[in-house]
C-alpha cells in the first residue's frame, strides 16, 4: 500500500491503521445515508458545482483517524470514509478541525475567515473548493442538524455532545 504524501497528521503505533479501517467501516453506512438525503433535498447544489461534479474532494478532519472522500457526481454520488494512507489522489483537499469543517458546511463559520486565520487549509484545485463552498452555502438550514435528525434522539445527543466538546 502506498503511503500518503501527507505528513501533517499520521496515525502512530501499530494499532492505528486497524483502528482507522474499523472506524471507516462503522461510519460508512451513516455517510451513505447523509449524502443521499442531502442530494435529494438540495438538488440545486449540483448546478453550482458545474464542471467539478466529478472532482475528488478529500476532506481531512485533522484529529479524526480517517479522512472523507467526496465525489459529488449526481449520477454516482460517492461519500466515504478512507484511512489517510488509502485516500485517493485528491483534486482538492480541505483540511481543518472536524468541528470547523462541520460549521463551514452549515455556514455557521465563514470559510474565508477560517482561511485568513489559517485554521482552514486548501490545496489542489482552488476553483473546485470555491464551487463546493458556494454550493453548500446556498443550502438553507443545517446539514448537521438534518443528519442528526436522521438518527433521532441519539443523533441529536451526539451532535450536542460534539458541539460541547469543541468550544469555539
Amino acid at each position: 500500500m502506498s503511503a500518503s504524501p501527507d505528513t501533517f497528521f499520521r496515525a502512530t503505533g501499530p494499532a492505528m491503521p486497524v483502528l482507522a479501517r474499523l472506524s471507516c467501516l462503522i461510519v460508512q453506512p451513516v455517510l451513505n445515508r447523509v449524502v443521499r438525503r442531502i442530494a435529494r433535498q438540495h438538488p440545486s447544489l449540483f448546478a453550482r458545482l458545474g464542471p467539478h461534479q466529478g472532482t475528488d474532494f478529500v476532506i481531512d478532519p485533522v484529529e479524526l483517524p480517517f479522512a472523507l472522500h467526496l465525489r459529488p457526481d449526481p449520477q454516482a454520488l460517492l461519500f466515504r470514509a478512507v484511512p489517510r494512507d488509502a485516500a485517493p489522489e485528491a483534486g482538492a483537499t480541505i483540511r481543518g478541525k472536524f468541528m470547523l469543517l462541520l460549521e463551514l458546511i452549515d455556514s455557521e463559520e465563514d470559510g474565508d475567515a477560517a482561511f485568513f486565520s489559517r485554521d482552514l487549509e486548501v490545496t489542489g484545485d482552488t476553483e473546485a473548493v470555491v464551487r463546493l463552498r458556494n454550493a453548500l452555502d446556498d443550502v438553507d438550514g443545517s446539514i448537521a442538524e438534518e443528519t442528526a435528525e436522521m438518527f433521532g434522539p441519539a443523533g441529536r445527543a451526539i451532535l450536542a455532545r460534539l458541539r460541547r466538546a469543541y468550544p469555539t
Partner: protein
Amino acid sequence: MSLAELICPAGTPAALRTAVDAGADAVYCGFQDATNARNFPGLNFTPDELAASVVYAHERGAKVLLALNTYPPAGKVDLWRQAADTGARLGVDAFIVADMGVADYIARSHPGSRLHLSVQAAASSPEAIRYYCENFGVKRVVLPRILTIPEIREIRKEIPCEIETFIFGNHGLMVEGRCSLTNYLTGQSTNMDGVCSPASDVEYKRHEDGSMSSQLAGFTIDCFGSDEKAGYPTICKGRYTASHRPEGYYAFEEPISLNLSRLLPDLIDAGVHAFKIEGRQRSKSYVRGVVSTFRQAVDDIRAGRAANIADLVALTEGQKQTQGAFETKKWR
C-alpha cells in the same frame, strides 16, 4: 438626517434571504456571467433564482439592486442588454452600472428604472458624478474608497444625487474599473469578465516549515509564515521586492479589511445616504454576522443611542482592519 440605508451583499439566494432576515434595507446581487464584477465560480443567480429572490425581498420590505457593473467588450454588448431586460422584467429596484453604453441603454429602454453608479465607474469628483447624473439620470453614486469624510461632505453639496459609501469589507486599493492586474497575469479581465484573481488560477502550497505560499498563474503573490494571518491571493495585496526593499514588502497594501463602524455617525452627518457592505463572494455566516451588527448600529444611531458595535475583526482579511482614507488622507 439621511436614512442611512444598509446595502448588503448576496452571492446566492440563501445569502439574500439571510441578508433580508438580518435587516438589510437592500441587497445587491448579480447574474452568473460576466455582467457583474463578482463573476466567481458557483456564485450568483439564475434568472429564476433572481425572480424568487425579488419576491422574497419585496414581501419583507427590502429592495434588490442588480449589479451590471462590468464593461462589455465590443461585440458582446447584447449579454448586458439582455441582463438589463431580465432585471427590469423581474422588477429589481435599481441597476448598478459603470459602462456608459450600458447606462445609456437602460436609461433609454427602461426609462422608469433607477440607476446607481457603480464604484467601478470610479467617479471621485463632483464633475464626474454630475456627468452621469445629467446624462443618464443616475440617482445614486457609490463613492470610491479614497475620500476623507470632509471631502465627502464637500462632494455632497455639489451633486444632485444620493451617496453610498462602503463601510465594511474588502479594501480595494486600485481605482475600480481601471485595473487590469488580474488580466495581466491570468488572461481574464476584471472589467470585461468580472473576475479578480480567479480561483482557477490560484494555488496554495504548504511547505515543510508550516508556511503557505499563494500563487496566481504561477506567480508568487505571498508567503505566510506558520503564525501569520493570511489574505486573498490578489496582486494588490501581494508581497514583492524592490531594489531598496530586498526583504520584501507589501508594495500596495497588506491583507486588511475596511471597517468604518466607528465613523457611521460622521458619515451620516456628512450626508451619506446608504452604507454598503462588501462581500458577495463571502458566506451566509459572514452576511448574517456583518449585516446584523450594522443593522443594530444604524438603529442605535437613528434612535440617538451610542452604537455598541460587535467585534468583526475575525471576519476581516488578514484579521486586520483599517478606516483607510476615510480617517486620514495620510493613507494616500
